[in-house]
């Protein structure tokens, strides 16, 4: 069995290259032609509402599913034809735990090293180094089930790093963690990215997406926006006015009649305007519906998504930070 740890990746190839990717499940088209290029060393976020195709695209890149049409390459290797090469060169943190809960952290890492073909001594060394790097040494000899949520996620990260991968895939890796633990986790990930690794991740937490170099927004199986967080926000325009009124339907109607364009959907009325300060006083005076609450703010990523997709990222996103994640099931 091959014992080489790092695949001989073409160093000039982009980290991820996706061309005209289509995935069908029976008659359902989960991906309808996705094109995407992620550069080496980039921190790249893939966002989208549940059922938008996010998980499908992620799974294809991580060699867990095969595409129906089109091609996907990771570090220059085709995810189908060179699957094992891709697997050796990548690390992946799943949404669900992928450690043996009854074994210690150290044993988990040792075993994963063995499964990747390391000799016992080398696997032991690697486990030790990873535990130190991720500040898990103190907890290393306790069964994984006795660790805190944050420590367990770090252990998952350590497991993904056993092969010293050039690209890391993180699939909603911090769901259910409290704010501190999430911060700790992302600090580690940023450290890894700073060393030149590519990080490709999905998340439901907006502030996590902010750390990305670039964000791709996927909806209905297509990439609908791809840019830096800052550029995406300027797309929304000057500012956002949010209104909660006694009769939102009527208020929307009135706004439309007066030449304004409230965004469709959402529980509140969202109005993007180049200069909110100039228009708001007049608006509040003349609006024939009683306004209960008004809010003006800089556009957030959430606003961008609401504007581009007409819906939020599905439940979790708007939840107060730190609430344990009750995931909305059915992500395709």
């Amino acid at each position: 069995m091959a014992s080489r740890m790092n695949a001989p990746a073409r160093t000039d190839a982009p980290a991820v290259e996706v061309r005209e990717l289509v995935k069908r499940y029976g008659k359902v088209e989960a991906l309808r032609g996705v094109d995407l290029t992620v550069q080496r060393g980039e921190m790249f976020a893939l966002l989208g509402p549940n059922g938008a195709g996010k998980t499908t695209l992620f799974s294809i890149l991580a060699t867990l599913r095969a595409p129906t049409e089109g091609a996907a390459r990771v570090l220059g290797h085709d995810v189908v034809a060179d699957r094992d090469t891709v697997r050796r060169a990548m690390g992946i943190v799943f949404q669900e735990p992928a450690i043996e809960q009854r074994l210690t952290g150290r044993d988990n890492l040792l075993l994963m090293g063995l499964f990747y073909g390391l000799p016992t001594q080398a696997a032991r060394e690697r486990a030790k180094v990873l535990l130190e790097d991720l500040e898990l040494t103190a907890a290393a000899d306790r069964p994984a089930k006795n660790l805190s949520g944050g420590q367990r996620r770090k252990l998952e990260l350590a497991r993904a790093l056993v092969t010293d991968p050039q690209i890391l895939f993180l699939d909603e890796a911090t769901v259910g963690l409290d704010v501190d633990a999430r911060r700790g986790f992302w600090a580690q990930v940023r450290g890894l990215a700073a060393k030149g690794r590519t990080v490709f991740f999905t998340t439901h937490y907006m502030e996590e997406a902010e750390v990305a170099d670039r964000i791709a927004l996927i909806d209905h199986g297509r990439i609908v926006a791809l840019d830096t967080p800052q550029a995406l926000k300027t797309r929304v325009g000057g500012g956002v006015i949010r209104l909660q009124t006694e009769d939102n339907a009527r208020a929307r109607e009135w706004l439309t009649e007066h030449g304004l364009t409230p965004e469709a959907g959402g529980e509140e009325i969202m109005l993007v305007h180049a200069d909110p300060a100039a228009v708001l006083p007049e608006l509040l005076r003349t609006l024939p519906v009683k306004v209960q609450r008004v809010e003006v703010h800089e556009p957030s990523l959430e606003d961008v998504f609401l504007k581009l997709t007409g819906r939020g990222l599905g439940g979790e996103m708007a939840a107060p930070a730190g609430r344990p994640g009750g995931r909305n099931g059915g992500a395709a």
Partner: protein, 260 residues
């Protein structure tokens, strides 16, 4: 391949070690057969000129090995459900290595459980000299591999652990009863002798009895060959079943089902 097998064995033995208390619990069944059933029946019967307890000792060893090995095999069903194997399946480990590693690991666990029974041999009137012990251990190892292969061949096809007791009652127990573990095959009805020829457990028990008492129903060479054939055949079958999942569009990890 060898490294993959090794990794599976290390994983399973580490988990087995966590459950080492089970070794003691696992003693209950053989001791019950030996000192309750054996003593009860043996009170007024002798078989082939030897005390009944002494006669069934190799059979009871077989019972212990059989149940431990098949129970160990069933962990593959849990492994499909727990996350750790998601990570294992995207490691570049051949599925064949997972199948073979499972067989070896199950056999080692069974062997340990069997060895725990050996100290009770003198109480059953069995004298274990050095030569007998080595011959017996060899026969036990072969039996363990056979039973482990049988266990995995079944377990590889289950997607739920609830089926296990049913299969155990419908297949494993009849194999045990037909094996001649508890009575001599020589004096058994003709149909049972015929059935025993098709029962891998019969060869395994007979070889252990030969190692211990020097008596046999099947020629020892035949017992060796039959078990080797069963191990090879069922290992090949398990590898085939495991490999089938490889072309699965999910490639195993997200929707893990080896049966497709």
């Amino acid at each position: 391949m060898i490294r993959g097998i090794y990794a599976v064995v290390v994983l399973d033995l580490k988990r087995f070690w966590l459950d080492r208390a089970r070794l003691l619990a696992g003693l209950a069944q053989p001791l019950l057969y030996l000192f309750v059933l054996g003593a009860g029946i043996g009170a007024n019967s002798q078989l082939g000129g030897v005390d009944y307890k002494r006669y069934i000792f190799p059979g009871v060893l077989g019972l212990s090995l059989l149940f431990t090995a098949t129970f160990a095999a069933i962990t593959i069903v849990f492994d499909r459900q727990i996350g750790f194997f998601k990570a294992v399946l995207i490691a570049p480990v051949p599925r064949a290595a997972i199948a073979l590693g499972k067989i070896v690991a199950g056999a080692l666990q069974a062997l340990v459980q069997g060895v725990v029974v050996l100290p009770f041999a003198p109480l059953a009137g069995v004298h274990l000299g050095v030569g007998e012990t080595f011959a017996l251990l060899g026969a036990m190892l072969l039996a363990s591999l056979t039973f482990s292969a049988i266990g995995l061949a079944f377990a590889a096809r289950f997607s739920s652990t609830t089926v296990f007791p049913i299969v155990s009652n419908a297949v494993i127990l009849p194999m045990f009863f037909l094996s001649g573990a508890l009575y001599p095959l020589v004096t058994a009805p003709h149909w049972m002798q015929l059935a025993a020829h098709l029962d891998p457990v019969a060869y395994a028990v007979d070889l252990m009895r030969w190692a211990l008492h020097g008596k046999f129903f099947f020629k020892p060479v035949l017992s060796l060959a039959a078990q080797a054939a069963v191990i090879a055949g069922l290992a090949w079958e398990s590898v085939r079943v495991f490999n089938r999942g490889e072309d699965d569009s999910s490639l195993g990890a997200t929707k893990f089902n080896w049966r497709r």
